[in-house]
């Protein structure tokens, strides 16, 4: 029986209950996929929630699972049609998509399992997960201050055996900058300590445009959602179109695997606008995945 008492606030009780619910569903998703010989890897969500302190619970509503390319189509069909799986809010990733350049097989070999509700949940090695979390945060255009805590706690609460060389494994110089700049941002805005890191982080080297954009995103507060989710609501579609007219430069650069120090952000934004427009049109009219 949990030690939280009747004197806990409603918010604390809600967090506790939803945590229990989410953990149960994570375990169920693994159980059901394994029945069909699919071995997923959990990213974000519960996999990072375990690094959060108890007085700052991490909220998540979906279950991000990465599967190999060969298993993706089958897993997607199951999630859409299986009676049990379709009830779970699974966000399926084909390997780690464009957000990681390390071979998925290598990342999978380094993964390990942790026990949850009598099920072994496969999670990435801490080093790989940090890299993925940073890429995801930047790919969302730095729009969520809350999600920046993923990076803070992944670093603050890393194990003693954390290997930074593994984290920077096979990275191009500009992808290494993605990591260093995001750590700088977490240091500036969330007080992440950088003094015990084995490499130098100089917050002064952060491009000014990057911090200004992050601040603007946090002030604005509107999160980018797929157009097909907004299309039936006039107010929402208007806000989403406005947000896209000048695409988020951070997101544009990440989507195009670019350099955050570039002086030609407008080129990335233009290319990204075209790419996203075609993608949205195909999702709305062709019902592509």
């Amino acid at each position: 029986m949990h030690t939280v008492t009747q004197f806990a606030s409603s918010d604390e009780k809600w967090h506790l209950l939803v945590k229990r619910k989410n953990e149960q569903q994570v375990a169920e998703s693994f159980d059901h996929l394994r029945k069909h010989n699919i071995e997923p890897v959990l990213i974000k969500g519960f996999a990072i929630a375990i690094k959060y302190p108890s007085d700052h619970p991490r909220i998540y509503s979906d279950i991000d699972l990465a599967v190999s390319k060969s298993a993706y189509s089958k897993a997607l069909r199951l999630i859409q049609s299986d009676e049990q799986l379709s009830k779970l809010n699974i966000d399926l990733h084909c390997e780690l998509r464009h957000l990681d350049t390390v071979e998925f097989n290598s990342v999978f070999e380094r993964s390990s399992t942790i026990s949850l509700n009598n099920t072994n949940i496969r999670v990435l090695a801490e080093e790989d997960h940090l890299r993925v979390l940073i890429a995801h945060w930047l790919n969302d255009g730095g729009e969520s201050r809350d999600r920046l805590y993923d990076i803070r706690y992944a670093i603050e609460n890393r194990s003693d055996s954390f290997d930074w060389d593994l984290c920077f494994d096979q990275l191009t110089p500009h992808r290494r900058k993605w990591i260093e700049y995001t750590i700088s941002i977490a240091h500036i805005y969330l007080d992440l300590s950088i003094k015990d890191l084995p490499f130098k982080i100089d917050p002064k080297k952060l491009p000014t445009w990057l911090t200004k954009r992050v601040e603007m995103e946090w002030k604005h507060g509107t999160r980018l959602i797929p157009l097909q989710a907004a299309i039936f609501d006039r107010n929402t579609i208007a806000g989403q179109l406005l947000k896209r007219i000048a695409p988020n430069p951070i997101q544009s650069i990440i989507e195009m695997d670019g350099d955050l120090d570039t002086h030609f952000r407008f080129l990335y934004q233009g290319a990204n606008l075209v790419k996203r427009t075609f993608r949205s049109i195909s999702k709305i009219f062709l019902k592509d995945e």
């Binding site: 009747q6 939803v18 569903q25 509503s61 009830k87 809010n89 999160r223 797929p226 039936f232």
Partner: protein, 156 residues
């Protein structure tokens, strides 16, 4: 036995978290969270489909050492019913006035807390931080959306 006069606690599609003197219940079908106080949770646990309301009142009296009457149990059953926590809808014997009277009567005489089944709303911080964005859309919001008021959302 699924006889409404022998109430039975629902077990399917629920996530239950027991606290020291309350029970938290998450309904996966409706994405609603509830908090049952001690009295309500004892009644709920006693609803095994084989006990009548009278039997449950007698059981509570034995367990608590206090005099618990049928009206007390019906107060709990009513709320459990309203919140879809019974496996079969039970026809209430109380209308609004009789419930009010019962609360007054039981409240004054009772040495144990009145049964309460309260809703737990998602904190504002939870709604702001998840990726679930419920907009009006003709689909059902999948499980996991913390916005319990979502009636036709699309989780992204």
């Amino acid at each position: 036995m699924n006889n409404p006069q022998y109430p039975s606690a629902r077990k399917e599609s629920l996530v239950i978290q027991e606290l020291s003197d309350e029970v938290l219940v998450y309904d996966l079908d409706t994405n609603k969270a509830h908090c049952l106080n001690q009295s309500a949770s004892v009644v709920w646990r006693a609803c095994d489909g084989n006990r009548s309301v009278g039997d449950i009142a007698k059981l509570l009296s034995e367990q608590t050492g206090k005099n618990v009457n049928d009206e007390f149990v019906w107060l709990a059953i009513d709320q459990l019913n309203e919140n879809n926590l019974l496996s079969v809808q039970t026809e209430t014997v109380m209308n609004t006035n009789s419930r009010r009277e019962a609360i007054k009567k039981i409240g004054m005489a009772s040495m144990i807390a009145l049964p309460i089944v309260a809703s737990l709303a998602a904190p504002r911080s939870a709604l702001a931080s998840v990726s679930c964005q419920c907009v009006t859309f003709p689909t059902t919001c999948p499980a996991g959306c913390p916005n319990a008021g979502c009636t036709g959302g699309f989780c992204v």
